[in-house]
């Protein structure tokens, strides 16, 4: 990992828990950028799988799909979204049918869509920051 000295000069979006991110990656912003890039690379397929599982009406698959995308938000420091995924996963375990979850699913879907935009924006900021720091 590369150690960058200008720790406090990078300002993350408020959605990102900086302390948590630092507990994972320390001050290595190059590696943080790599993690964000990896997340964005597989984000589409994970989100599509979630949507498909909901559309197919399969609660078990839906629970598995949200379980699978959940840690992604931990890796990028979006701990609130991570918790929301956990709550939805718990709901899947108690619901009788996907229809009951419609409102919660739509809310989570929007949250996941917006989160992607946040990650993309942070990614761009990180690219600039790291190119200037190297």
């Amino acid at each position: 990992m590369n150690n960058l000295s200008a720790i406090n000069s990078f300002s993350f979006n408020a959605e990102i828990d900086f302390s948590y991110l630092q507990s994972l990656y320390g001050d290595d912003y190059v590696y943080v950028q790599e993690i964000f890039a990896t997340v964005l690379n597989e984000y589409g397929s994970l989100a599509d799988n979630l949507e498909y599982s909901y559309s197919s009406g399969n609660l078990t698959a839906l629970k598995a799909a949200v379980h699978k995308i959940k840690p992604v938000f931990g890796f990028v420091g979006m701990t609130a979204v991570h918790q929301e995924c956990q709550q939805f996963e718990n709901l899947c375990g108690t619901a009788d049918s996907p229809e009951i979850l419609t409102r919660d699913f739509e809310a989570l879907k929007n949250r996941i869509f917006q989160s992607r935009q946040v990650i993309e924006e942070e990614m761009k900021k990180l690219e600039i920051f790291n190119s200037q720091s190297s």
């Binding site: 590696y31 790599e34 597989e42 379980h67 699978k68 992604v72 931990g74 890796f75």
Partner: protein, 230 residues
């Protein structure tokens, strides 16, 4: 001592991170990353590792099914985001349970839990080959090429997959201490077998490529344990 490991994880970012932790620690060498159980199993059928970082929920077979099918007993650290696998983890003698994502400090703590078994790991991570002295020269035999070793009094006979036989001055008792514990197990006072080569077992007999190997009562429990019989 550097441990060898593989990661079995279908989420790319969740494989990337522990890989980085391993490199950073300098304590663990990553031999491979597999995103599903069949690929990991294929690797482990011809390679051994000290440690597996194992996700549980993956497309197709789950992580525990991998542990059911491998012929040796590496240390296992579960990497999951569920707490529901505690009972299974206990059953499979899992060393630790890391909730994704985990901090680097937590990763190091998990590795420390493996340290008390250092002696075992050292034995398990023995070389992938041995040299034997026969006909006045040293011959290298890869672990995977050996079917079994048979006692012949003060000599032993190594039988290999290409049906060659090498006789050397040694004893089963001495070899038991020297061969890789991941590959080999003493099943009888006169036999050490390669666990990866066993075709089947009936009563007190093992069958390896048409060879009938007796299993003593004293060693039978160990054999069952190592074969991961379910």
């Amino acid at each position: 001592m550097i441990l060898s490991c593989i990661l079995v994880e279908d989420l790319q970012v969740a494989a990337n991170y522990p890989t980085n932790c391993c490199e950073k620690s300098g304590l663990v060498e990553v031999k491979g990353h597999f995103s599903n159980v069949p690929d990991a199993l294929s690797f482990l059928n011809s390679n051994t590792v000290d440690l597996i970082f194992l996700d549980v929920e993956m497309p197709g077979a789950n992580g525990f099914e991998l542990l059911d099918q491998i012929a040796f007993s590496p240390k296992v650290i579960l990497t999951t985001s569920k707490t529901e696998y505690a009972y299974n983890a206990f059953q499979y003698n899992v060393s630790d349970y890391l909730m994704k994502p985990f901090t680097y400090q937590r990763f190091l703590e998990a590795l420390q839990k493996i340290q008390p078994s250092k002696e075992t790991i050292s034995t398990n991570s023995a070389s992938d080959h041995i040299y034997i002295k026969t006909d006045g020269k040293l011959i290298r035999l890869n672990n995977e090429s050996i079917l079994f070793i048979e006692s012949m009094g003060d000599y032993v006979k190594f039988v290999t997959v290409d049906n060659k036989k090498y006789i050397t001055h040694n004893t089963i008792k001495n070899l038991e201490e020297k061969v890789s514990k991941q590959h080999f197990l003493k099943v009888h006072r006169s036999y050490i077998v390669n666990l990866h080569k066993i075709d089947d077992m009936r009563e007190n007999l093992l069958f390896i490529k048409g060879n009938e190997i007796p299993v003593s009562k004293a060693n039978k429990a160990d054999v069952f344990k190592r074969l991961n019989i379910v």
